[in-house]
Amino acid sequence: MSAIYLAVIGLAAFAIGYFFYSKFIAERIYRLDPDFQTPSHAMEDGVDYVPTNKFVLWGHHFTSVAGAAPIIGPAIAVIWGWAPAFLWVVFGTIFFAGMHDFGAIWASVRNKARSIGALTEDVVGHRARSLFMIVIFLLLLMVNAVFATAIAKLFINFPSSVFPAWSAIAVAVVIGYLIYRKGVGLLWPSIIGVVILYVNVYLGDSMPISLSDGTFGLAANAQWILLLFFYAAIASLLPVWLLLQPRDYINGLQLFVGLGLMYCAVIFLSPTVVAPAFNENVPDGTPPLIPLLFVTIACGAVSGFHGLVSSGTTSKQLAKETDARFVGYFGAVGEGALALAAIIATTAGFATLAEWEGLYNKFGGGSLTAFVNGGANIVHGGLGLPLDFSTTLLTVMAILFAGTTMDTGVRLQRYIIQEWGNIYSIPPLTNNYVSTFIAIAACLGLAFGAGGASGAGGLTIWPLFGTTNQLLAGLTLLVVSVMLVKLSRPVWYTLVPLTFLLSMTILALLFQLWEFYAQGKWFLLFLDIVILVAAILVALEAVSAFMREKAKAAQASGPAV
């Protein structure tokens, strides 16, 4: 079967979801009001609360939520065949992610643009707020550990990407310096910067860089992980204008370029999907599809992380309440399109089934390597770019997405540790360097604790990362559902996804608990138990919040005495 069918059916389904389902949700459930004064107007301060053009807002909402995760998840999950991953991404985006992201913006806008964390306390209760902080910290911890492992693996498998990926940092710093210190206009530095980046990708092929095993007694993989965290620590402490801002901007451009390249190449090449629809022949040790599929693909189907972006920054800049549909729902559609591209690259980018099976020889085996190899074959065949160049280009894109998430992640972890320092009156924790050090140490502990001394097995925590992400999505859906109950509106459209997510998360955690116990992975077992306890508490909080609100509603509508 040609991959064009997958692309067309998937994109058409997203379009139907956007034009019909999101319209229904906007009019009947959230009942968006064009005359409602949004916080960006009511509290306009030129700093956080700024009414923003909806296309610009969609641009950075989308680029903030989309990164390496919607690529890695599907790239691992196609091990069960293309159909389960495809169906979950399509239906997940339409009925789960769109609803969730759109709902998070709506809930926040209707509550003075407060973050979902703060809303959890107001709407659900104080205990839920504490749970929220812990879940976010675990999520960041895992995302940093997993992304460091994934980047290290790419550096080793594709040494030609080392030079262009690191040189991107220098390009970003120069752009940041020119714009902020020299007052140069934005357009020329960014155009020249992107051109230099592509020239470096071309040069990278002729100067592959590999670290040798055994330096300081460490495997090359472990050295890369240490170097990456060293970089993340420094990057997270630098002023944002110097590195993070220009890097985000360049990455945003890369995201659009990458998506454009992939879909154009698929249309021109029409590659055949070599992977089976349902893989009957999964390698030993592959966990069962249900429930693991639903936590392996989190970003790309539904992801709690989006709720943080939706309610943290997007809601403060929304000019009109009706824009929430375009920014939130269409943002989720954009991410779904990225996940779909990852599915096509990892299932149709290979010449034969044997070649595909060679990469997917164990659970977590294909991952980004399969995406880069498959995607490069498609781009090479469809657009005629040299194979080496396409390979390095896709590798660099994946590394840049993951790298930016890492330094943002470490920065956010630092904020959480500092907040804990303030709450519990432990002054050393509020220090920038101490908190960054603790954040990095925790991430390293997880990367090596899960993956052994070489850090090579860090991707085994990917499904655990997915469960945490879904748990966060569950908390956001809980807030939105409770708000809908309070307003006496239909609640099924958020309650069904919430129940489904929580049950799949708890099932996946129980399965992994048994697996970690059987394999004697005590560190991961401990982490699993912590997340399981959090998941059960979220479920209990959900039930209790609903009972309370239902009782209140019944009281309000009961006969007056």
Partner: protein, 90 residues
């Protein structure tokens, strides 16, 4: 397409790109700038609060300029009223 129309499109692209670049970090950068301004404020008014500052002679003429921000500054610093007995703003 006339040159003025092309110029207009170029202008729009530039504006959208600038907005795309600045919007996500507007708040963070404004807060960092405010922190630096707060420190500067402390230097200017330090002598009046009993903290010796050898540069006071040179910074004295800045006081009237910063006076307008003094009230906002001391409220942000957690002091409801002016911390200076002889220097009231509210």
């Amino acid at each position: 397409m006339s040159p003025s129309k092309i110029g207009g499109i170029w202008q729009t692209v530039q504006e959208l790109a600038t907005e795309f670049y600045t919007a996500p970090y507007r708040g963070t950068i404004a807060r960092a700038k405010r922190d630096e301004d707060d420190l500067f404020m402390l230097f200017i008014f330090s002598e009046m609060m009993g903290v010796p500052n050898p540069a006071t002679y040179y910074t004295l003429e800045l006081q009237p300029i910063l006076m307008e921000q003094f009230h906002e500054w001391h409220t942000r610093m957690g002091m409801e009223h002016s911390p200076l007995d002889h220097f009231k703003c509210c």
